[in-house]
Symmetry: C2
Subunit: 230 residues, 2 copies
DNA sequence: TATAAAACATGACATTTATCATATTTCATT
DNA sequence: AATGAAATATGATAAATGTCATGTTTTATA
């Protein structure tokens, strides 16, 4: 684990993408003075389910997955967190150990803000608290949607929707492939199925000319077709 | 729909079970003066997915289900909300139409607090905002757990866990049957399966002496056995 | 570049779950 | 109490998905 000092929060371009944007310059200076930074390599664990977090992370660069271990021993990916987002707020607020593990999907840069500083702002800055609340309300709505999809849709539909989601949320590279690179196993853990089933459906989608693959990379060819998948 | 005046918020025993407990007496008096009350009969809809709510509800008595319609035409029950809880906060906070429908499972008494009053408190009372935030953080964690269960567990396991959840959260009547009475279809919509499948598993559980049924009522006989279901 | 490990892919088969048909029971209403 | 509607129950069968085996390709690393 590598800790280094990075730039100042008040000048950081990342903050505009999350609730930190509601803080005053003065508050940002204070946070900046006590934050630490951390570089995490692809595959490394940022924190693990059950751990007690001593603060929150702000993702300066990279992408990670939030996973939860099911009692049958399989991992479920609950959410992908990208550059600009915060990590660990929920557990800080409900004052519990984290319920999810965070694992880097590529090399990441993180800033860590100690709990005491954040709690201070939650006490005093209503805008900040309300913005965190708004973000969490959105997360909750998304979670509701995921529940319905898991409960009511087929593996084919869930994979199609996952591909569309990743395409729309995180975009594509210049060659048209999805910019978030996931293994087939990761896809399986997002849609909640066996890796083999995921691979089979990917093969079907290829045959149906809905997607193309370049190595493990996936390119969406017919997004409208994917939307119509049943 | 029946509207009537009920008691005063500041004297209401229900408030201790939700975030309203953090409000000052003065704030409660103000809210009380503009709240309205509503009686809803079993099966009636309190609000519907897509509607714009003009405030939040406080459940004075009764139970309702929060459901979401899947694109395949099936309803998914996301949550049961009982006496003491609030209804509609999420949509109020993210300033969107509600993403779930609320339908009474038995006769209910509700108090309705207009949006303007609640938003006023969210602006000014940090304790209130923070408590709403805490509740939402808990809801989000629960939603994560549901996602994992949906994605990774069998219908048998999900039904077993649902029975245990209802038993532990809402208790039993004097004859030992679950105090929240759900139809087989409701159970199916909670665990995300076909009604017939739910009925079959209930029959299995009966044969395995894990539960007993009295009409449509269910009594848990061997809760440890239910926990071991695979 | 060689080599082993990991990831990807596919077939064969088992298991789970959905669907459709059809009884049976329960419940509300007359 | 009679009656029809809704809910519960069960069988037969189809469809979806999981599991295990095995082969191929990709990737990392010596």
């Amino acid at each position: 684990m590598l800790w280094e000092t990075m730039g100042k929060c008040e000048q950081c371009i990342i903050k505009q993408f999350n609730s930190l944007k509601t803080l005053t310059n003065e508050e940002l200076v204070r946070i900046s003075s006590c934050k630490t930074s951390r570089v995490v390599k692809k595959g490394e664990t940022i924190f693990e389910e059950g751990e007690t977090l001593k603060g929150i992370y702000c993702v300066r660069d990279g992408i990670c997955k939030l996973t939860k271990l099911s009692s049958n021993g399989k991992d479920q990916i609950i959410k992908l967190v990208v550059k600009g987002e915060l990590l660990g707020q929920r557990s800080l607020i409900s004052d519990e150990s984290v319920n999810l593990s965070a694992i880097a999907l590529n090399d990441m840069e993180l800033c860590f803000i100690p709990k005491s500083e954040i709690m201070n702002d939650l006490q005093k800055n209503t805008n900040f608290t309300f913005d965190i609340l708004r973000e969490m309300a959105i997360d909750l709505k998304e979670a509701d949607d995921i529940i319905v999809n898991m409960a009511q849709k087929s593996v084919r539909q869930r994979l199609a929707e996952t591909l569309i989601y990743i395409n729309d949320s995180f975009g594509t590279k210049s060659d048209g492939t999805l910019s978030v690179l996931l293994s087939r196993e990761d896809f399986a853990n997002i849609i909640g199925t066996a890796t083999e089933s995921t691979i089979r459906v990917i093969s079907q989608f290829k045959k149906e000319k809905l997607i193309a693959t370049i190595g493990k990379q996936i390119k969406i060819i017919d997004i409208e077709g994917l939307r119509r998948v049943e």
